[in-house]
Amino acid sequence: MSFNIIVLAKQVPDTRNVGKDAMKADGTVNRAALPAIFNPEDLNALEQALLIKDQHPGSRITLLTMGPGRAAEILREGLFRGADDGVLLTDRAFAGADTLATSYALSMAVRRIRAYDIILSGRQAIDGDTAQVGPQIAEKLGIPQITYAEAIERAEAGRIRVKRRLENGVETVESPLPVLITVNGSAAPCRPRNAKLLQKYKHAKTVTERQVEHIDYIDIYSSRPYLNLTEWSVADVDADPQQCGLSGSPTKVKKIENVSFQAKESKLLTGSDAEIDELMRELIANHTIG
């Protein structure tokens, strides 16, 4: 038994390491100043796909991402770890998409990919934390979903058994295939890059990358077809441009506020013995503690 698996991944700015120049003077996000990374929970999802492939040789993993040209970096990261194919969905018409427009575009790309049994993605991306795109895609494809997955216990012909992590417990569910599964950060971490695969795929490029780097003439791209990363536009996946990007997004950003706190008048203490003693005496006296 082998499975066709699609892993949905996103390249995200590393919001966990936001520096002082992360915001521009006009209050918008300075994406250029932030390192771009493979969304952490999408790596957990990739690992679940790889584990299925380990147990069911012959299974194929296609990594699908939507983003600007540079997002091809995470496709290579996926290939280095054991994915078989990478697809970049990229088009100016996708810009400004909210979760619904994103799910529409990705669902159209999934339809374009050959038959699939299992779609895996991270629970949520660290730049938005919404956890919405996975379930929205499942609805558009008309397939069941399993969110907050922690481990895939068993995959067999037409069925899958998955352990979910709830707020206060665990749940094991069984679903028919095809299914969309979103994976928690508490699941197994992704394996590191494989040295052989790194050698094999380090020159894997999208057609745009080859053109930009003026290497599209190099014959390895015809002699080694696996080095060609698939690149699809709105037209390639037969999507309706009106349902993509800003125009396909029901939510609009009314305004963005920079964060400013209503500053209180704080008492400043240096941490000397006398000052700490006085503070603690006060807190005990007014019954805040004790």
Partner: protein, 339 residues
């Protein structure tokens, strides 16, 4: 028609706190826009739901009773909401930003093509102008949430699509009885008209509910640590102080991501919201997402070796120093001066 709907989460017949909080918010939003408040209950044990929710000012309660609807699974609950909303055309739908709400909300929004905003920290009613089209929208729901690692606060609106959907975490909104004698209408719906047999294709094999070991939500005192605590070992100091004061231990997202503390301790927009009488923030810089989860603490003490940490702006006491020196002094004084 065009009312405000709240999806009720029900575990063993009891309406969850987060749903009660959303009913309270829904009641005040309904008063502002001049519409009714409606609630949806889908499950097995629903006999006491009406008496639980009417005091929050619910005008209409929609009941869907079927043993297969409990415990929650995605597809049947999705079908119920989608079909009900096609009939009722709500203007607003609120859900908890819980595992259930975050599983169900996006599914429903995708089916209806409506916008959904996750983890709102504030909901308000107001007008909106689309300048390009010269259109003015009256009484939209402002869905307000920190975004982008907490560096900005975004105000989101859904001008053209209904319902306007939002999820909110437990503890963010306050729950308040509207009128203990308030009574609305109960509508029992035939489940078979809403749910298809194939919606029950997914089966629950096993389910363990463990009471969480960490319960800081209701602690009157919280000692909380950030990335600045430096290590898991240093977090021990926080536990020692908490132990002495009878406090709970919380953490910022950065500390949780760094592995200093468990996920259940995370305070902030995507964690727990707390309102203790004393909040001691140790080595927490104070991103807005963290502040959103603790700013209503009665008294805030910040211990940080960076005198310019943003959290200091909202602290009542700012101690500039290392936690390794400050916390032992606090413990020492407290031990000496209390019984």
């Amino acid at each position: 028609m065009n009312n405000i709907f709240v999806y009720l989460e029900i575990e063993e017949g009891r309406v969850a706190d987060v749903s009660q909080e959303l009913l309270t918010k829904g009641r005040s939003l309904a008063a502002q826009v001049g519409c009714k408040l409606e609630a949806i209950a889908a499950g097995a044990q629903l006999d006491s739901v009406a008496e639980q929710v009417f005091p929050y000012g619910v005008d209409r309660l929609h009941i869907f009773r079927d043993p297969r609807l409990s415990p929650y699974t995605t597809l049947p609950h999705t079908s119920i909401l989608v079909e009900l909303f096609k009939q009722e055309h709500p203007q607003i739908c609120l859900m908890g930003a819980t595992i259930i709400g975050r599983d169900l909300g996006p599914r429903v929004s995708s089916a209806l093509g409506s916008g959904l905003t996750a983890d709102c920290t504030s909901l308000e009613i107001g007008d909106h102008e689309e300048k390009k089209e010269g259109k003015v929208y009256k009484n939209l729901l402002y869905q307000i949430r920190p975004a982008f690692g907490g560096n900005i606060v975004a105000w989101i609106v859904n001008p053209d699509h209904r319902p306007q959907m939002a999820t909110v975490r437990e503890g963010v909104m306050k729950k308040e009885i509207f009128d203990p004698h308030y009574r609305g209408e109960v509508i029992e719906h035939p489940v078979a008209d809403f749910v298809k047999e194939e919606d029950f294709a997914l089966s629950i094999i096993d389910r363990h509910i463990e009471k969480s070991k960490v319960n800081i939500k209701n602690s009157p005192i919280i000692v909380s640590g950030g990335y600045g605590v430096g290590s898991k070992e240093n977090f021990e100091l926080l536990y020692q102080l908490a132990n002495v004061l009878g406090a709970g231990v919380g953490a910022s997202r950065a500390a949780v991501d760094a592995g200093f503390a468990e996920h259940e301790r995370q305070i902030g927009q995507t964690g727990i919201t707390v309102r203790p009488k004393l909040y001691i923030a140790c080595g927490i810089s104070g991103q807005i997402q963290h502040i959103a989860g603790m700013q209503e603490s009665s008294l805030i003490i910040s211990i940080n070796n960076d005198p310019n940490a943003p959290i200091n702006a909202i602290a009542d006491y700012v101690i500039t120093g290392d936690i390794e020196t400050v916390i032992p002094k606090m413990i020492k004084y407290y031990r000496k001066n209390t019984k």
